[in-house]
């Protein structure tokens, strides 16, 4: 059992690596989108699962970065360079996270939930009410960013297969970096804050600074995901910043199970596929989606990764 469990992520990774050779363009694009959402979900897991900070405004950082490829282009028919616009997007999201985090982290618990939601809504109104990038209508990203080094272009972001493998690399890289981060002293301090902040403070940790650092890193990674989401969709509008986006990614993290990053990836796959499935059944798929979410909360407090434990518990109670 445990050997099989250890092998499972590797099998999943192998399946993702061969998918473009087997599946059609539709699925390649769908899974690329899911992998972007998985990166987004992992960044939120760093806050919710690891540090114990429930943010309901994480789309602010995702959404801000998604506007960067549009805003960084000199005009709408010329491409930006990936190597300048991506760092710009990540830096913008990190800065915004630093600013929002420095205020929101003055509060805790349920206040924190409401305050992060409110600040992300403020960012939403910046894009919705002003004329920036088409205002409430949004705007098209006519030309995808170019990833060339000198005259050599190793990666064509307009090509579905290229983009797919780029996103797979992004997913693996983000996972590896976050794993290293969690194994470090910094990661242990964050877990300590989650389990008992008072004690961490008594031990001499400046918990505010640790939380702010986690919030900023999570914002930067969310920006990474937002940037590529905009590149893939070729379209940005204020919905990228909306609170439904924030709730959606929070759903992914909770559905999958908290704090181990795998859960975030599982949750991203489960939620996007469930949405896809429900919306293929009926126009009124949101009622099914809502019912699904409610059932998961009521029956599986540990998320989908906790299915096994819930099942064992149920069997033990019966037998």
């Amino acid at each position: 059992m445990s050997a099989a469990r250890r092998a499972l992520p590797l099998i999943a990774l192998a399946a993702l690596a061969v998918l473009p050779a087997l599946a059609g363009k539709f699925y390649v694009e769908l899974v690329a989108k899911i992998m972007i959402m998985a990166v987004f979900a992992m960044s939120l897991d760093l806050l919710v699962g690891v540090t114990g900070l429930v943010s309901l405004g994480h789309a602010a950082f995702f959404g801000l970065a998604s506007y960067v490829p549009v805003l960084a282009a000199p005009d709408k028919y010329s491409a930006t360079s990936l190597w300048t616009s991506l760092p710009l997007a990540v830096a913008a999201s990190a800065l915004l996270a630093l600013a929002i985090g420095s205020l929101a982290l003055r509060t805790r618990g349920v206040y924190f939930i409401m305050v992060t939601l409110a600040f992300s809504q403020m960012v939403y109104f910046v894009f919705h009410d002003t004329k920036i990038a088409g205002g409430s209508d949004g705007t098209y990203l006519y030309v995808k960013p170019v990833a060339s080094i000198g005259s050599w272009t190793p990666l064509d972001l307009g090509n579905a297969t290229h983009f797919y493998y780029a996103m797979l690399a992004l997913l693996v890289l983000t996972f590896a970096v976050l794993r290293l981060l969690l194994a470090s002293r910094f990661g242990h301090a964050l877990r300590g804050i989650r389990s008992n902040e008072q004690r961490m403070r008594a031990l001499g940790f400046n918990t505010y600074a640790y939380k702010l650092a986690a919030f900023t890193i999570a914002g930067a990674i969310a920006g990474l995901a937002g940037y590529f989401a905009a590149v893939q969709f070729g379209f940005v509008n204020p919905e990228m910043v909306s609170w439904h986006q924030s709730a959606n990614v929070l759903l992914m993290v909770i559905l999958g199970g908290l704090g181990n990053l795998f859960g975030a990836i599982v949750g991203a796959f489960a939620l996007v596929l469930a949405q896809d499935f429900f919306s293929s059944l009926t126009k009124h798929w949101l009622v099914l989606m809502g019912g699904f979410v409610i059932l998961v909360v009521m029956l599986l407090p540990g998320g989908l990764v906790g299915v096994e434990r819930a099942w064992l518990h149920w069997r033990r109670r019966r037998g």
Binding site: L103, Y111, M114, T130, L250, L251, I254, G290
Partner: protein, 290 residues
């Protein structure tokens, strides 16, 4: 700015502030007493507005629609607490956020199935359809004054209930120390159910009474929900007087922001919240009694 325009904006601010208070007071009570963060609270406002639309076209009279609507809202709130919220007291905020978000999706979609996605208007009752002339060109609709008056009456009733009755005493005690109330032999579950039903009825009433003045449209609940979070954060969670002060403050800032800074009005209330957070992170009325 000439005086009549200024007066109209003041009246609009008060009206918006009082409506926000009715929704936010339920939100803050439910959190203060039950410890539940309820994202679906905005949906009750939306459902109230749609109930006013449906019931007033059935009965032909807004006032009887509101009367029926309040009864329905209380029953609905009571059942909802019994089926779903009952179950959230032992869970952390995260699960509460998730479940109540699921409820929003269900309510929005059921609304779409039953009434459709069109924008509707609710006719203003004939008795209140006049306008009061102000100055030579401006006028102010009587119905908007009625909204403010009705909200004010409900707000006063709420304060009387909380301050002067035995039930109010139990609610205030529950907000400050839940365990103690339980150990004194008060049926805390019944208390929760009553508070929840009151909260739902307040939000639904706000939705019903404001329906003729604004249109009835999909997603109207979410708008109100997020602004009410701002109100609750500014006022201090669990504090009803705090919610009143904060709601009026938000009403004035938003209304006058639309006049002076139309492009940035959406952001102003959030900036206000940021300032309050720097100054007093626990809100204006921290830890005061309900």
């Amino acid at each position: 700015m000439d005086l009549s325009i200024f007066l109209i904006q003041v009246l609009n601010s008060v009206q918006y502030g009082l409506l926000l208070f009715l929704v936010a007071s339920g939100l803050t009570l439910i959190f203060g007493i039950m410890g539940v963060i309820n994202l679906a609270h905005g949906s009750f406002y939306m459902l109230g507005a749609y109930a006013a639309f449906t019931l007033s076209s059935l009965t032909g009279n807004l006032f009887s629609a509101i009367a029926i609507g309040i009864v329905l809202a209380v029953v609905f709130g009571y059942l909802l607490e019994w089926i779903f919220f009952n179950f959230l007291y032992q869970r952390d905020h995260l699960q509460q956020v998730l479940l109540t978000y699921g409820l929003i999706l269900v309510f929005e979609d059921l609304r779409s199935i039953v009434v459709g996605d069109d924008v509707h208007g609710v006719p203003v009752p004939a008795a209140l359809s006049a306008s009061i002339p102000l100055g030579s060109t401006m006028s102010y609709p009587v119905y908007n004054l009625f909204i403010s008056a009705a909200c004010l009456v409900v707000a006063v009733l709420l304060f009387v209930l909380l301050r002067r009755t035995r039930l109010g005493m139990m609610i205030r005690a529950g907000a400050s120390n839940r365990e103690m109330v339980r150990s004194l032999g008060i049926d805390i579950h019944l208390l929760f159910r009553v508070v929840f039903a009151i909260g739902v009825a307040l939000a639904a009433f706000a939705g019903m009474v404001s329906a003729p003045a604004s249109s009835v449209y999909p997603g109207m609940g979410n708008q109100v929900l997020i602004i009410c979070f701002v109100v609750v954060v500014i006022g201090g969670i669990g504090s009803v007087p705090g919610a009143l002060v904060a709601a009026l403050l938000v009403g004035f800032i938003d209304t006058f922001g639309k006049v002076f800074l139309p492009d940035y009005s959406g952001m102003l209330v959030y900036l206000l919240m940021a300032v309050i957070l720097i100054w007093r992170p626990e809100g204006l009325f921290r830890e005061s009694a309900v």
